[in-house]
């Protein structure tokens, strides 16, 4: 499994939110490039960058920072946050992202997702966030009544090949990933699934590597890395 250290950018800094709450923010690095270089320097094979301002505004707000991260690190980066129309996707890829992560818009705007998949194929990751098993929209400020596993299955049929599945209840808590929920989602698709939320120690990563279905290809880790619960190298070893 691939470790995706997470870098959430807000107001030009690297921050973490707890359970997606913009009011519960912790700042870790004044310059996100420092975080990116730290994780990459420890051997990260991929970075997951989220433009939190973009997610709220509905269009990328930190393109210059994304460009600086992409140029600085010796590994590919995937970028999400506010990608709701083709122009935004093109700009983020132009800034140096290897993949784009499309969230809300993939569910709300089938035409947009179809166009993005046609143009960029495997470079598109569809992010599906869930609270209590239901899809959550608009930077987590709104919850739907659509079952997350159903949504993933449907989006797979529309051609999505990789998902990022975040369980909001556990995100930022470091109390362990929602393995059962992850298995339920992954069982409904042949696409690759990246697990996000709740990783707090190496045992959590080991259990992901051991117990998650085969199409769970990686895990996002944020707070636990910033708080030095373990190193990137240890996390990669735990996922191997």
């Amino acid at each position: 499994m691939i470790l995706y250290p997470a870098i959430d950018v807000r107001g030009g800094s690297a921050v973490r939110l707890t359970q997606g709450d913009y009011g519960r923010e912790t700042t870790y690095d004044a310059d996100p490039v420092d975080a990116a270089l730290r994780w990459a320097g420890e051997g990260a094979q991929y970075l997951h960058v989220v433009d939190l301002d973009g997610a709220k505004a509905g269009a990328p707000q930190n393109l210059a920072t994304i460009e600086r991260i992409a140029a600085a690190v010796p590994c590919p980066i995937q970028v999400g946050g506010g990608l709701r129309e083709s122009g935004s996707v093109a700009r983020v890829l132009e800034a140096g992202a290897a993949r784009v992560v499309i969230g809300t818009a993939a569910l709300r705007d089938p035409g947009f997702l179809e166009a993005a998949l046609a143009a960029y194929g495997d470079r598109v990751v569809v992010s599906v966030d869930a609270r209590d098993g239901k899809v959550s929209l608009a930077g987590w400020t709104e919850t739907s009544d659509v079952d997350v596993a159903d949504a993933v299955a449907e989006l797979s049929q529309r051609g999505a090949t990789r998902f990022l599945c975040t369980t909001i209840e556990v995100d930022g808590t470091m109390e362990g990933p929602a393995l059962g929920e992850l298995a339920r989602i992954a069982a409904g698709t042949e696409a690759q699934v990246i697990a996000s939320g709740g990783v707090g120690d190496l045992a959590h990563l080991e259990s992901l590597a051991r117990e998650a279905p085969a199409n769970v290809e990686g895990a996002i880790v944020g707070r636990a890395l910033y708080e030095r619960r373990f190193s990137v190298a240890e996390a990669i070893a735990a996922l191997a």
């Binding site: 691939i2 051997g43 990260a44 094979q45 140029a71 010796p74 590994c75 590919p76 140096g96 090949t161």
Partner: protein
């Protein structure tokens, strides 16, 4: 000594990533298309992302093909990365076909991929087919990061590395002072940086550019 490396700028490529990675390994990198700057360098990198025929047009417009051949003849180490590697070969079948710079015998063709999705994007283990200064200290089967739809077919004597995507394909070549890698060392974490450091080491030891 610090190796001075010229990164050829012909308007297509991941230039700044390559520059940053070279700086990271202690080389002095310059992004340029100026002949004088290229002639002053201990090594030359030909990067590239995009379509082969368009890239060759740009390279010819800037007379970089002649400059690269001249530097090869002067004994200066040359490294092609991704499309840059492909351009060092004689021909491609991409978009109806085109001629390359021609420093490496052989052609470039579509990745067989055997039904897998093309482009091949992601981390794949690379097997070294022989020893090389370029790959010193990097174990065979170490993963590198790839983004490509085409791959070269070097002559057996020039084959340096292979990877598998569906079937096995050539992903690294070496002929005298000409090197090329299909993967992106500047995006391949510690192993990629080591490869670039090795290239900088080869450049630092090569005869002074004349």
């Amino acid at each position: 000594m610090t190796a001075r490396i010229a990164i050829l700028d012909y308007g297509m490529g991941n230039l700044r990533s390559v520059e940053k990675a070279l700086e990271h390994v202690g080389a002095a990198a310059t992004i340029t298309s100026e002949a004088s700057a290229v002639r002053a360098a201990d090594g030359v990198i030909l990067p590239g992302v995009g379509a082969f025929p368009r890239a060759m047009e740009r390279i010819r417009e800037l007379s970089l093909d002649e400059l690269i051949a001249e530097r090869r003849d002067a004994g200066v180490p040359i490294l092609g990365i991704c499309l840059g590697l492909q351009l060092l070969f004689e021909t491609t079948t991409e978009l109806g076909g085109a001629d390359g710079v021609g420093l490496l015998p052989g052609g470039v063709d579509e990745l067989p991929a055997d039904g897998l999705k093309v482009p091949h994007i992601g981390w794949s283990p690379v097997r070294w087919e022989r020893e090389s200064k370029l790959t010193e200290g990097i174990a065979s089967e170490t993963p590198f990061y790839f983004v490509h739809s085409f791959a070269p077919d070097p002559i057996p004597g020039d084959l340096l590395g292979t990877a598998a995507y569906g079937s096995r394909f050539a992903c690294a070549a070496e002929r005298d002072n000409v090197f090329g890698v299909q993967f992106h060392p500047e995006k391949s974490s510690a192993a990629g940086l080591r490869l670039l450091a090795n290239f900088a080491g080869v450049c630092a030891k090569a005869p002074a550019p004349a």
